[in-house]
Symmetry: C2
Subunit: 405 residues, 2 copies
């Protein structure tokens, strides 16, 4: 009897969690498991703001996939997905193709630029290891160049962050820690540096508790961040952004660095492969399968699950992706054992912590609001938890965040 | 009775040596000593190839001027020289002016680009702390950007060094050490990187012993450097250089980084101030004074001293600048004590060592040819010697180069 073949594409939070759970649940003789990923490493997307600011080395935010998978059970293929042929039940890769009986699409999201002119070309992203280290190096290069100029271009030291959502705020927190170091490293006067956050929504961190939002804003303002709220980026040029607020005349802000940290959409492979989607996200069934395709699961940033309480989709997070991965692993195990009853996914929100740099954060954990050092400590607990869930204690010891007192 | 005022402009090897010698030779009541420098730090020009390649942090190549001067005897002024009014006996600074009775011009050299189009705009220089860290960051940014590109631009990983003189060769040595680290840091395939050295002269390291030159070339070639000898850079563009060899058709070499390490000329302040000079260098009298100006000494890269043996000028080096500084200090002490007989400067060549990266070098020391680890060790001795000469044992301990076995 031919063994079913389970193919997981993407080794982010969702895909890797699916893989490590499946390799525990399923015997070698029950199924073949193939994990496909572009890189041979997994990276902690939720830590990229640190690598981007330069406060944490990018090698600390990634680890070798082969360190966490059981290679006697899982075949790892390093390749890039080009398209999914869902009718032919195969995945087209850059260097070949792979057939599947069950497919888990866990390709992660992509930045959503809302068609804003110039953003794709001129703004930096906090998207992956490559983009983060490029951003870090770009910022350092601006500082390194400043003292070389005969006519000092102060705009070189202006950093604009587009988006005051989770990523934007966490990146701002790291930046305010990093800028004094950069000033010291490159002999730049601290007062010459300007950090501006532009957010189109009427508030910072929409959806967060207003009291915590106020705390975050005042802490970041104290450290030098200027917030332009209710202000939209209309265009990005090689050395500036054009912003507009309501009926006001749009104006130009010159900046040496523009970072786009607003908005995630689903993976473009989803639409390319003909799945029905909204901004690249597929509204999955309660069992996380794609309507009409009983052999295809989608989890993580390219899946859309409605929060019934507020009748709006859950925002894409690492937490939800990992919980989905656990359910998918159990559902696939059930399917290959010919069980027809599949488990329904419900999101169990354990809380959210948004860091504001070293030693400061805001959050809601188990329904309680926390700020400051306590929240910052909880942030590290959260960060270590995802390591633990995927790689156990060994990975926490190797890559975990500990503060040495 | 009014005390004479000695003004030293420039705190490089020559200027700083003059200052520390003067502060020992002269009593507080004999003269006022003023040292003027653009930065509040001295940097080791001969170590900049390391800071530029990123093998040594730039803070290791500089130290605070106030750490080596005796502030009860020397007034330190941080300012930039604009011009010298030699008839009015004053130095015009950006923020003021200073009168002098005796002036020591030790402003250092400037890169000589021989009017080659685009070099000033697009090539990086190994000239000072600012230019070195900009070059280091530029190279890192090229590596960081490579993996971000959808269409990989391999030319981004081409590094061209213009000039196979001392600085060019030493920089190449460091680069060959640094490139594997960069490849690892930015996930770049080592084989994609290309290092090319272009030299217009018919040989590498002109003036060096041919046996040592052969050793250097074969060592660097073994580490991946391609030499284009007898080849002139005709033009530098934002992403390439145009080279020509003899009668051959000029050709373009695409490169992400072009470093100009060929040729030093005297400081442009010299010509601006109306001194008679050749490429910014003034042929000084045997007592190091400027002909016709008995109160003005010029030392270091802006001075020109003929090597009688070969009837050609000595190349500008740290060694000659420091020896000049010692003589100038004694001659000024003589002048303020109304002695008319001044000391004649003769260069005492203690040897030259050219490093080829970590653990390798070539050199002639006390007339003996050396290569490899021995030469590399001697290079560190030479480097520590200039620290010792200026700042004593304390400075060697603080900033010296030691290899820990």
């Amino acid at each position: 009897m031919r063994k079913p073949k389970i193919v997981i594409i993407g080794a982010g939070y969702g895909g890797l969690m699916t893989t490590v759970r499946l390799q525990k649940l399923i015997g070698v003789n029950e199924a073949d498991i193939v994990l496909i990923n572009k890189n041979d490493y997994h990276y902690e997307t939720t830590w990229l703001h640190e690598a981007s600011a330069g406060t944490l080395h990018h090698d600390k935010v990634r680890y070798d996939i082969r360190d966490v998978i059981d290679r006697s059970k899982v075949d790892f293929v390093q390749d890039t997905v080009v398209e999914i042929n869902k009718e032919g039940k195969k995945v087209i890769l850059e260097k070949g193709e792979v057939e599947y009986d069950y497919l888990v699409i866990a390709l992660g999201g992509e930045p959503e630029t809302f068609g804003i002119k110039g953003l794709k070309e001129y703004a930096f992203g906090i998207t992956n290891v490559n983009s983060s280290r490029q951003l870090r190096e770009h910022i350092e290069y601006q500082f390194a160049t400043y003292n070389m100029e005969e006519e000092k271009n102060d705009n070189r030291l202006v950093l604009v962050v587009g988006g005051a959502g989770f990523t934007g705020i966490e990146f701002l927190g790291e930046l305010t820690n990093r800028i004094p170091e950069l000033c010291h490293e490159y002999d730049v006067d601290y007062h010459k540096v300007k950090i501006i956050c532009v957010e189109a929504a009427p508030t910072v961190l929409p959806g967060f508790d207003p009291e915590l939002v106020n705390y975050a804003v005042s802490q970041l303002e104290r450290k030098g961040v200027e917030f332009l709220i209710g202000t939209a980026i209309k265009e990005c040029t090689p050395d500036s952004i054009i912003v507009g607020k309501g009926e006001e005349e749009p104006r130009e802000i010159k900046a040496g660095t523009v970072v786009w940290a607003a908005g995630v959409r689903g993976n473009s492979i989803i639409e390319k492969s003909g799945f029905e989607a909204m901004r690249g996200r597929v509204k999955v069934q309660p069992d996380l399968r794609v309507p009409g395709f009983d052999d295809v699961f989608i989890i993580g940033d390219s899946s859309l699950v409605i929060n019934e309480e507020i009748n709006r989709p859950y925002p894409p997070t690492a937490q939800i992706a990992m919980q989905q991965g656990e359910v998918v692993a159990r559902n696939i195990a059930a399917l290959i054992r010919n069980k027809t009853e599949l488990e329904t996914f419900t999101f169990d929100n354990k809380g959210t912590v948004c860091s504001l740099g070293e030693d400061d954060a805001i959050g809601v954990v188990f329904g309680k609001k926390i700020t400051g050092a306590k929240a910052s400590f909880m942030k590290k607990v959260v960060d270590n938890r995802s390591l633990y869930m995927i790689g156990g204690v060994g990975l926490v010891v190797k890559k975990g965040k500990f503060k040495l007192f």
